[in-house]
Amino acid sequence: MLREHLPVLVIIIPLIAAPLCILFRGRDQAFGIALLATWGSFACSAVIAAKVMASGTLSYELGGWPPPIGIELRIDALNALILLIVSGIGSVVAPYARNSLLLEYVEDRSYMFYCAFLLCLCGLMGVAVTGDAFNLFVFLEISSLSSYVLIALGFDRRAASFASCTPLSLRSTSIQPVNLFC
């Protein structure tokens, strides 16, 4: 029944899992949610890739409105490949997150890390599947904001906080003109 909704499911599984991490808070619960969500969206993207290979480009109308009126998700072979790579890397990396967080002694905020990780994944996949320019901007924004957060959490605090500020000012000079022209 949900098979025709796969293009949107692959985005909203991590999107719903991220606030759940905040609600449950526990280190282990958040880890479990993140693991389930990444593997779930990997499974979805695998099925999508198989479908695209079999039957060509997939299109999904959000809200049931046809494209110029509403937003359309569009997945061709290249998008499916990118989707598969992104969600594949996410699901391979996620199981190891727990141990590397233990090394950094940040258990009290680890649920927030999982949340930012899921949001980053959601943003990147959203960029891959969307067929709408403004929607691309929105998901680009999700992925960039969450990656600033992830970088600023990094091992060497000093370098990390400045390193994540540099893309912020770069964004100002690059994304905004894109916004201006698109």
Partner: protein, 118 residues
């Protein structure tokens, strides 16, 4: 001359946006950079809203007896972009506070010279 009256709005807004971009590129103080970023952003928003203006139109809230409305689509896009803008600004300010704690300064030149020595 007719052209001027049709386009002056865009021109002034472009000049304002470039002033914002100048602040972002030329100034080394991180807070001033963020203010410049906000100026740049607000100018782009004004440009977008100018595209959607229809002369003689009114705000796109449907009323009986009104036929001409301005274009609602730029309004929607900019409404959401404003909120994204404040979210980015807040995150940038949080980073500035963290940088100040790690480096003791928020001037870009000083941060670079500190990174060069250590």
């Amino acid at each position: 001359m007719v052209d001027f009256f049709g386009l002056y709005n865009y021109w002034i807004v472009i000049v304002l946006a470039m002033a914002g971009m100048y602040i972002v590129i030329a100034r080394g103080n991180l807070i001033k950079k963020l203010v410049g970023l906000n100026v740049f952003q607000a100018s782009v928003f004004v440009l977008y809203i100018s595209f959607g203006k229809v002369s003689g139109g009114t705000a796109p809230i449907l009323l009986k007896g009104v036929v001409t409305y301005s274009n609602p689509l730029p309004h929607v896009l900019i409404l959401t972009a404003i909120v994204v803008g404040v979210a980015t600004t807040a995150l940038g300010l949080a980073l500035v506070v963290r940088i100040r704690r790690e480096y003791g300064t928020i001037e870009e030149d000083d941060i670079h010279s500190q990174d060069g020595h250590t």
